[in-house]
């Protein structure tokens, strides 16, 4: 039935499009000068119908279930729900729904069977209602839209207003994601900071969050100084960027300027595969291949290397980030007008000089964008570090030691036992908040730089 409603909507809006377009064409052929071309008259009708009716259908679908359920529960014989808490009432409803769906087991009480029949009936009614409503709305809108067609009607403006509205909706959705994240983080962070003083969190040098959550749990005493954790994040990010930026930029420059076309067309998508390899796989790769290799290399040179090193995790992460930088750099280099290249080459610059001195500076904003995205990814990357970095927080900048990162701590604190009145769990949110703030600062800084060095050409 739902499908039918969608089908009606689709057909009706196409019909409205054709109808209005025809009408507008007729007016035009009659010699009048249309304000908007007839296509816009059609589109106006189409959007005028599609958008609101779609919203109505979706709202109906969301509300239908709860409303029908409430009606069924309300219609149950008096007294059946007395003394039951919501969970148990829920279960009764679930049973009724099962029966109505044909999954009868045991022998239910007759009132449940009756309720199930009632439920089925209501559902059918609701489905029918939806179809009728859709059809009615479509007809009404078709009529309204058709009435609007006139030589002077500003159909294009109408269409553009609707599209603007849709785009604003999209932007608001993006912003709401941020708001949602900040809100959820901020609330729990506030609770955390009531339990752990801000100064200890910001300046403490120890991170041992594994305090007991259950009254009888065996665990350590806690310490919540985030410095070792952020230091670990910084070390790993630094290692990753230290590997990804040169490799990414140099491969972008090579592919853009020197590589034969055939190699370029193959190499670029191949590189992009690196970005798509699941991070779990990189995690395995880091601990099973890279970390032992580094360890045995270190051992052969007499350098003590921890089994989990920042170098292994960061190095593998760096490989993952190569395509972010190379793709963005390549796109940015391609966007520099060809006349710029010609100008440098004609002065007798080598191709290397052209790329490095002229194209590269002009492409800086795009490249910074890519590097920034890579830094962001490195800071926020989770699975690789969960598997390959350590859990223990060491305050060190030595990449050959085991460090932990903010994301690792967030994951470990949130998977398994959680309790939202205990600093252990809340610490995850505080860390998330700090991460958010740190990256925000980095981003503001980067935006400044990009603004400053943005080159205007063309």
């Amino acid at each position: 039935m739902t499908t039918l409603a969608f089908a009606i909507l689709l057909v009706a809006s196409l019909a409205a499009y054709a109808l209005n377009r025809r009408a507008a064409t007729t007016i035009r052929d009659g010699g009048a000068r249309l304000h908007s071309v007839s296509n816009y008259h059609g589109l106006f009708a189409l959007l005028l119908m599609l958008v609101p009716v779609l919203v109505v259908i979706l709202i109906w679908l969301v509300l239908q279930g709860p409303v029908v359920n409430a009606m069924v529960m309300w219609a149950l014989p008096a007294g059946t729900l007395d003394g039951l808490d919501t969970g148990q009432a829920d279960l009764i409803l679930a049973e009724i729904q099962s029966i109505s769906g044909g999954r009868i087991f045991g022998d239910p009480e007759p009132w449940k069977l009756a309720a199930a029949a009632h439920l089925t009936e209501l559902r059918e009614l609701a489905a029918l209602g939806l179809v009728l409503l859709t059809a009615l709305l479509c007809l009404a809108i078709m009529y309204v839209a058709r009435r609007k067609v006139a030589a002077g009607f500003r159909a294009r403006q109408g269409v553009e207003r609707i599209i603007s509205g849709l785009m604003i909706f999209c932007s608001v959705a993006a912003i709401f994601t941020t708001v949602g994240i900040v809100a959820s983080l901020a609330f729990e962070t506030y609770k955390f900071l009531r339990l752990v003083p801000l100064t200890e969190f910001l300046f403490g040098l120890n991170w041992e969050p594994q305090i007991p959550i259950r009254a009888d749990q065996i665990a350590a005493a806690g310490a919540f100084g985030w410095l070792p954790v952020i230091a670990g994040t910084i070390v790993i990010t630094f290692v990753a960027i230290f590997i990804a930026v040169p490799i990414g930029l140099l491969s972008a420059i090579y592919l853009f300027e020197f590589a034969p076309k055939r190699i370029r067309s193959v190499a670029k998508p191949l590189l992009e595969i690196l970005a798509g390899v699941p991070t779990v796989v990189y995690g395995f790769f880091a601990i099973l291949v890279v970390a032992p290799a580094i360890r045995s290399l270190g051992a052969s040179m007499g350098i003590p290397v921890a089994p989990n090193t920042a170098l292994a995790a960061g190095g593998v992460m760096g490989i993952m980030l190569v395509p972010f930088i190379s793709s963005f750099a390549d796109d940015a280099l391609s966007a520099v007008p060809r006349s710029m290249r010609d100008g440098a080459l004609a002065l007798g610059a080598t191709r290397a000089e052209t790329v490095l001195n002229v194209l590269f500076p002009a492409a800086i904003p795009g490249i910074v964008g890519g590097v920034l995205l890579a830094v962001s990814r490195a800071i926020g990357e989770t699975m690789i570090v969960v598997m390959a970095a350590g859990l223990m927080a060491n305050l060190t900048l030595n990449p050959l030691e085991s460090v932990t990162t903010v994301t690792v701590q967030i994951v470990t604190l949130l998977i398994g036992d959680t309790s939202f009145d205990n600093p252990k769990t809340l610490a995850a949110f505080a860390l998330g908040m700090m991460l958010f703030i740190v990256t925000l600062i980095i981003n503001i800084f980067a935006l400044r730089i990009v603004r400053k060095y943005r080159e205007a050409y063309d």
């Binding site: 553009e160 603007s164 785009m167 604003i168 909706f169 999209c170 932007s171 993006a174 912003i175 994601t177 941020t178 994240i181 959820s184 490799i247 140099l250 420059i253 090579y254 592919l255 020197f258 067309s265 590189l271 992009e272 595969i273 970005a275 798509g276 390899v277 699941p278 991070t279 779990v280 796989v281 395995f284 790769f285 395509p323 972010f324 796109d331 940015a332 007008p337 007798g348 080598t350 290397a352 790329v355 795009g366 995205l373 962001s376 990814r377 800071i379 926020g380 989770t382 967030i410 994951v411 949130l414 998330g432 991460l435 958010f436 990256t439 980095i442 981003n443 980067a446 935006l447 063309d458």
Partner: protein, 432 residues
């Protein structure tokens, strides 16, 4: 160079001499840059190669499955029409195997259990389904091919070393003797493992397949795409082309860039509290997974789209505006099509990331064990990366190669997505 006697030529010559003098050094610099470039790209490819090679060396074994072909007499004493679908299919199968092994005493129950252990646990259900479909088979002898159980599969693929001391092996000498005998009879052979793609998950490596995970990933990615692509592009176009440029839009830009740095677990957390907690959407559902992934993918798409829109030269916009095109006609008719290659690159990178994302899916329960494939996005399911995560944690040896195989399957999907992107990109690519 010809001799130029006049004084004016002297200037030119010194210039050229200077140019000439530095040329070798400059070319060397270029060569060094080129070598660095080649080294960099080779390094990247080397890593990709090592990754793929290690996956293929372990994973390729999972693409075949050892099967045993049996002549099964469907004994009416064990299986009767009335009791279907129940019945003693295990015994019937064990007897069929024993028929090939003259040394086995069919009355010895312990020995018969060992013989039955050659077959996969799924064999009985395959036979059952066949009989349920055609009950008239009862009392007849049919030929059926069923998978062998994991240790025998390992043995057949040379993953089980016959040299290890008997007490440390999964198969003892008698079992290996049975196996050798069956191989001699031609009953055991390896065939293409279609089950890897057509079966859902299973506890038994020889039966486990990726159908559930693939369908789960498909539904999740479809949801993710349908939500993040229009929302991301809509938002990017609005913010880049239409929104007034002021402190607020700067703030929004910084925020969206920042969203890309939010760890994926945090998105999982948000999904857990909002989608599952607040909206009451079901756990483990690909739809919820897709919503979560969409939130993560959106910033990547927005950033890439904005970068691509920025790169379209202003002269194109001016040209269209000058003809009386409205702002939207300019943007949708000229700017967006020109920016399409960049938009697609960003979308593909974003979706590829989403396809391989694990952490948030763990939080919303998409790492469950489910032996059926989802039919709708609201059914419980796993996704490819979480399936890999589960298989990687399974003790059975058979899952080692299957994990690699699953990764290869995932990479194949990824490469397919990339291929589509390349095609679309080349279709839209224009020079100005």
């Amino acid at each position: 160079m010809t001799d130029i006697p006049s004084g004016s030529g002297a200037v030119a010559r010194t210039t050229m001499d200077k140019v000439h003098g530095s040329l070798a050094r400059r070319h060397r610099k270029q060569l060094i840059l080129q070598i660095f470039g080649i080294t960099a790209i080779s390094l990247a490819f080397l890593m990709l190669f090592i990754l793929l090679a290690s996956l293929i060396t372990t994973g390729h074994k999972a693409f075949t499955q050892t099967e045993i072909t049996l002549e099964v007499f469907i004994d009416p004493e064990e299986i009767s029409v009335e009791r279907l679908p129940r019945g003693n299919f295990t015994n019937v199968l064990a007897a069929a195997v024993a028929a090939d092994l003259p040394s086995v005493d069919q009355q010895d129950r312990a020995e018969m259990r060992v013989v039955g252990g050659i077959l996969s646990n799924g064999a009985q259900f395959q036979l059952r389904d066949r009989v349920v479909e055609e009950p008239e088979l009862i009392g007849q002898t049919i030929t059926i091919s069923v998978p062998v159980s994991d240790p025998y599969d390992q043995l057949h693929k040379d993953l089980l070393d016959r040299e290890t001391p008997e007490n440390l092996r999964r198969l003892d000498d008698t079992q290996i003797a049975y196996y050798d005998r069956l191989v001699e009879n031609g009953a055991i052979a390896a065939s293409l493992n279609t089950g890897l793609l057509t079966n859902a998950d299973s506890r038994f490596p020889e039966l486990a397949g990726l159908k559930g995970a693939i369908m789960g990933s498909f539904w999740a990615l479809l949801t993710c795409f349908l939500i993040s692509f229009p929302l991301g592009i809509g938002a990017a176009i609005y913010l880049e082309e239409f929104a007034p440029k002021n402190k607020l839009s700067d703030f929004i830009e910084v925020n969206i860039n920042n969203l890309a740095a939010v760890p994926s677990v945090v998105f999982g957390l948000l999904a857990l509290s909002v989608f599952i907690g607040l909206f009451g959407l079901p756990r483990s559902a690909p739809f919820v997974g897709g919503l979560t992934l969409a939130l993560m993918t959106m910033p990547t798409i927005i950033i890439a789209t904005r970068a691509a829109l920025k790169a379209v030269p202003p002269s194109i916009r001016e040209a269209a505006l000058g003809l009386g095109a409205s702002k939207q006609q300019v943007v949708f008719g000229h700017v967006v099509p020109l920016a399409m290659p960049g938009i697609l690159t960003g979308t593909i990178i974003g979706l590829a990331q989403a396809l391989g994302e694990t952490a948030p899916l763990l939080l919303i329960g998409m790492n469950a064990f489910i032996t059926s494939a989802p039919a709708t996005p609201f059914d419980s399911a796993t996704a490819l990366p979480t399936q890999i995560f589960i298989w990687a944690d399974s003790p059975e040896r058979g899952f080692v190669s299957r994990t690699s195989a699953a990764i290869l399957v995932l990479l194949t999907f990824l490469i397919m997505m990339n291929a589509i992107a390349i095609y679309l990109r080349s279709k839209f690519e224009r020079k100005w």
